[in-house]
Symmetry: C2
Subunit: 302 residues, 2 copies
């Protein structure tokens, strides 16, 4: 896939991922700041080969409104820390009870449940520490920083990710209606993806109209991402997923293909990706990575 | 106990507790914002009869430097939310495995482990949402708000409370040295008590010198509080504690009385309380509640 300025999406993603990984290394709490094992546990999950989709969306949104993505990389890293905390807690025996993620043993399998819970707690806490660090707050952006902290906390809380995970837990072993399934995913995945885009845009000086449109883009790719994941869970191979194919089905979780069939799920996915790209119609070439990321979500499972 | 202006400490604590409880009701996420069970779980632990020591310290410190404590009650409530999250996670089977706290069944006993973990996650997240709410940030205090968020996140993270809980987990079944025991409690309890005092002071416009002195006061009463707790654990009755007396010993945790004996522990407690009060020598009568709280910590187990 080739963008207007000649960079492929693969190159863009790889370059941004390298910048984010280097920044995460810099921003992690120093080893002397706490017991060694908690730092090992935090690093085990944070550097387990994630795609860095949320921080890349944050940086790409800052760039789409004319900002320098690098300038807001601390916010991007905080979003990845929150995502990683949610994976560690979701994998726990009391939740999804997953032994592997991306082919690596999960935190509680390596460090025990107690340390895994605390590693998640540490990452969530550290994210807000990073978001409020004085070195990233200038005189002219303290208000925007507070706004971004507020929006991220809301997206991560009961109205968003935590609420979605509660619905996920409660839905196990039941067939839930399409509306409930979409609501669950909108909270569990969509809210954090949308706020990733929104926070980068706000910090880079987006107008309220731009922010609103980018939020809708984020919500649409969030739901698209989840449908694509469900399709992969049925059709993909387990090496690609890093966990057993069909694992959601075996835990009695409702999936989009189970409710609508594969064909309708694929059509819905295509529609969402189309609509996500359409939200960006008012942006220039600097939004090209965001447009390509939307298409990439659909194409990775072909 | 009678203060200069004629209010007893009991009256002061009861009045401030009532204000804080009412504010917590106001600040909690609305029920329509997420699945009902998570709100039930959050409320079960948040309204389980806590003393509200951390929020009262925040309010009392704001008053000690001449501020209106009520004005900063959102920060006080956020501190209580973080404290409650830590209790829910500490009680989990993978941590202390406590079935009761203050005579009430713990979160995971009522709602199951998955929801208990998520209730803790929700409270930690909601605390940062509350701290960054636009309604509590005025044009002239966004910088102070960010500073307070940063200090609270640091006190709650691996350098503070999470780090202390890791040390606590690792110390089970071992006798640890006095230095390690103090370091553990300094992180696990002291850091959050100190930041409770400091955040109220900063928001109310304390000077750097006042903030530094109040931080030392908070650290000293934090350690005093823990020694008093250890003494109660040996000598107190279980009705007062709401859990079985001697429960730390039975889990093979090192306590101050076990390391130093009861008499030396009591002397150390008295010294710390004396020193905490001495830090406040430069403050006027408005610091009287803080002085009395220090003494109260020592006297509650006589």
């Amino acid at each position: 896939m080739q963008s207007e300025n000649g960079t492929t999406l693969e190159t863009y993603l790889a370059e941004r991922k390298a910048l984010i990984d280097a920044a995460l290394e810099r921003f992690l709490p120093k080893a002397e700041d706490g017991p060694e094992i908690i730092h090992q546990a935090v690093r085990h999950s944070l550097f387990a080969g994630g795609k860095r989709l949320r921080p890349i969306l944050c940086v790409a949104a800052a760039e789409a409104v004319g900002g320098d993505g690098q300038e807001f990389i601390s916010c991007a890293c905080a979003l990845e820390m929150i995502h990683t905390y949610s994976l560690i807690h979701d994998d726990l025996p009391a939740m999804d009870n997953d032994d592997y993620r991306r082919g690596m043993p999960t935190s509680h399998r390596v460090f025990g449940e107690g340390i895994a819970i605390l590693a998640g707690d540490a990452l969530l806490t550290e994210a807000f520490h990073l978001l409020s660090c004085p070195e990233f707050t200038r005189d002219d952006n303290t208000e925007k920083r507070l706004q971004v902290i507020n929006l991220i906390a809301r997206a991560a809380g009961t109205a968003g990710m935590v609420g979605g995970q509660v619905m996920d837990l409660q839905g196990e072993g039941k067939t839930v209606a399409l509306e409930t399934l979409e609501d669950m995913h909108r909270r569990k995945t969509g809210a954090m993806l949308a706020v990733s885009v929104v926070s980068g845009a706000i910090l880079a000086g987006a107008t309220a109209a731009q922010t609103a449109v980018l939020s809708r883009y984020g919500q649409d790719i969030g739901l698209a991402f989840q449908i694509a994941d469900d399709i992969l869970n049925v059709t993909g191979d387990s090496a690609l997923m890093g966990k057993g194919t069909g694992s959601d089905l075996s835990r009695g979780k409702t999936t989009f293909p189970a409710l609508m069939g594969l064909e309708v799920s694929r059509n819905r996915l295509a529609e969402l990706v189309e609509r996500a790209a359409a939200h960006l119609a008012g942006f220039d070439h600097r939004a090209e990575p965001l447009r390509q990321i939307a298409r990439y979500i659909m194409e990775r499972n072909r």
